[in-house]
């Protein structure tokens, strides 16, 4: 997503760096160039896949009280 002058003003404000009005637009262009280059990371498949689990019986094996695949807990909210 391209960065505009308003975003630079906001980010500079967060970073506590004074950026002159005249520098906002050129800085926005520079930062947009860098962000556009960084965005190639979207190509990388990074979904975390769950490879273990699904064994409710083992999880409940030590429960003092269980029913229908759930822990049975005392009433918490009155």
């Amino acid at each position: 997503m391209p960065i505009d002058a308003d975003t630079v003003r906001k980010v500079a404000n967060l970073a506590r760096i004074r950026v002159e009005e005249a520098r906002l637009a050129p800085m926005a262009a520079e930062l947009s160039g860098i962000i556009a280059w960084i965005e190639q990371l979207a190509e990388v498949e990074c979904e975390d896949v769950v490879t273990e689990g699904g064994d409710a019986a083992a999880i409940l094996a030590n429960a003092p009280k269980a029913r229908d695949g759930f822990f049975v807990a005392p009433k918490v909210v009155e």
């Binding site: 980010v11 967060l14 760096i17 004074r18 800085m27 860098i34 990388v44």
Partner: protein, 492 residues
């Protein structure tokens, strides 16, 4: 007398122990060399008086038979290391007056072992740069020049002052730091040896922070053996750095010259990038042949996420930098620009104290960490970083080390690449993967290109296995037989 500056560190240490010359004579020879090399702008602060005092104390210990492993050896210190009572600027205007009241662990280790400090070395501001041109004190000039012209070339960065001082024989060795390639790329551009050890091998305590999960100290040296000697002294567990590894420090110099027969060395196909000069490709092939001759088995391997390392780095490093550099607020140390309100003091101090590249990175870092963008950029980059480390893990099941070029180009002209930040970032394409993965790597001079400029080879090792990369680098160094030195055009 000036011949003493052409010694290697190992040669000088032997000469000192044999009392062929004194530490004071050695220091004086280097002080004279530094004074005659100011055109290179390698030093931001010369400390000749301190050097002579330390040398005299070293001579006393040598005479008493109580010499440490580096006793009497004059070194240069990158200005990112805090040195007690000696101005430490990190190459920034904002720290121009900062005199630390404490000593970094790495430099303290060097002084414990008898080393002598010649001064503080120039660098890119807060280590953010690959050409030394972001320094508030002006760029360092590479001692190497093209055969075709006298144009001033960059020594690389960020440890450009360290690399330049070693290449020009101004110091016997230097400290440096490497966050994305800042030791190895300058080593490649100046025909010096640079080591980025395993993350956690050297304490970061007292080193001005840039990106704390990536920053690591290491040596720049004239030879592989010298680098091993320096790293042995610099390394070690430090309770003051929570990321310092409580691991034994091997006797690194003992692995220099050790046989590499039977080692399996991987050549990653993704490092064959577009537009890479054919001479770099050719040097890489020669490196493969040298290792085969030495009895290594070469294996082609794949590191599929390599191309994503630089973009991930340019999220993670600026994010950490924006947080680390929040401390420069004009209140406790460094520059203060007075203003009517506290907020304006902050904003004006940081506007005047930071250079353009530092501002750019702090703004990028603030942006990628801000609400709404954190997941899309920062969290994504952390996941990609994991994939890059996984690539290495899988490859190191099959090989003992990797061989790659160090940098995608030879030294370039000062001012030639400052207009395009991304083109500058691409200097670190072969080095940055190792920082993201925490692995050790070394760069050694391999050859001169047709213009007479040095090109480096990189060996990457398993975590905490610097020993193997020292052995492989020494084997490559022997085969490369790189002897060239830059003509001393800068004197007189």
């Amino acid at each position: 007398m000036n011949d003493l500056t052409t010694l290697t560190l190992a040669g000088a240490l032997a000469g000192l122990r044999a009392r062929r010359f004194s530490s004071l004579e050695l220091a004086d020879a280097h002080i004279a060399a530094i004074e005659s090399a100011r055109a290179l702008n390698a030093f931001v602060l010369e400390t000749p008086e301190q050097a002579r005092e330390m040398a005299l104390r070293a001579d006393a210990r040598l005479a008493a038979g109580a010499a440490g492993p580096l006793e009497g050896a004059p070194l240069g210190i990158k200005d990112l290391f805090c040195t007690k009572g000696v101005r430490s600027t990190a190459g920034s205007r904002i720290l121009e007056t900062f005199v630390p009241t404490y000593e970094s662990t790495v430099t303290a280790n060097l002084w414990r072992d008898g080393a002598v400090m010649l001064g503080k070395l120039n660098m890119d501001e807060f280590a953010m740069g690959s050409s030394n041109e972001t320094s508030a004190f002006g760029p360092v000039v590479n001692p190497w020049r093209s055969r075709a012209s006298n144009k001033a070339l960059s020594p690389g960065g960020s440890s450009g002052g360290s690399a330049c001082a070693v290449a020009a024989d101004l110091v016997l060795g230097a400290t440096a730091t490497d966050t994305g390639g800042s030791i190895r790329q300058p080593a490649s551009l100046t025909a010096t040896v640079g080591v980025k050890p395993t993350y956690g091998r050297c304490s970061r305590w007292g080193i001005v922070a840039f990106a704390s999960s990536l920053d690591q100290a290491g040596p720049l040296a004239k030879t592989v053996e010298d680098a091993a000697i320096l790293l042995r002294s610099m390394s070690g567990h430090d309770p003051k750095d929570s990321t310092s590894l409580p691991a034994q420090v091997p006797d690194f110099p003992a692995f220099v010259g050790k046989s590499v027969k039977g080692l399996r060395v991987g050549v990653p196909r993704e490092y064959r990038v577009e537009n890479m000069p054919s001479e770099i490709e050719a040097l890489w092939e020669r490196g493969v042949a040298w290792l085969e001759d030495a009895g290594c088995e070469i294996v082609e391997v794949s590191l599929p996420h390599t191309k994503y390392a630089l973009p991930a780095y340019y999220i993670i490093a600026p994010a950490e930098a924006s947080s680390n550099l929040a401390r420069y607020d004009g209140i406790r140390y460094g520059l203060r620009v007075e203003a009517p309100t506290l907020r304006e003091v902050y904003e004006n101090t940081r506007a005047e104290g930071f250079g353009e590249e530092v501002k750019r990175r702090v703004l990028i870092g603030t942006y990628v960490l801000s609400a709404g963008y954190y997941d899309a950029y920062y969290l994504k980059a952390l996941k990609v970083r994991r994939r890059i480390a996984d690539d290495f893990d899988q490859v190191f099941d099959r090989v003992d080390a990797l061989l790659t070029p160090t940098a995608p180009c030879a030294a370039f002209g000062l001012g030639e690449r400052t207009a395009d930040p991304i083109a500058m970032y691409l200097n670190d394409i072969f080095t940055v993967t190792v920082n993201l993965s925490g692995l050790p790597a070394i760069s050694i001079p391999g050859a001169l290109d047709a213009a007479g400029l040095p090109l480096g080879l990189q060996v990457i090792g398993r975590a905490l296995d610097e020993a193997t990369i020292f052995s492989l680098a020494a084997a490559l160094e022997k085969s490369a037989a790189f002897q060239a030195k830059p003509p001393r055009w800068w004197t007189g």
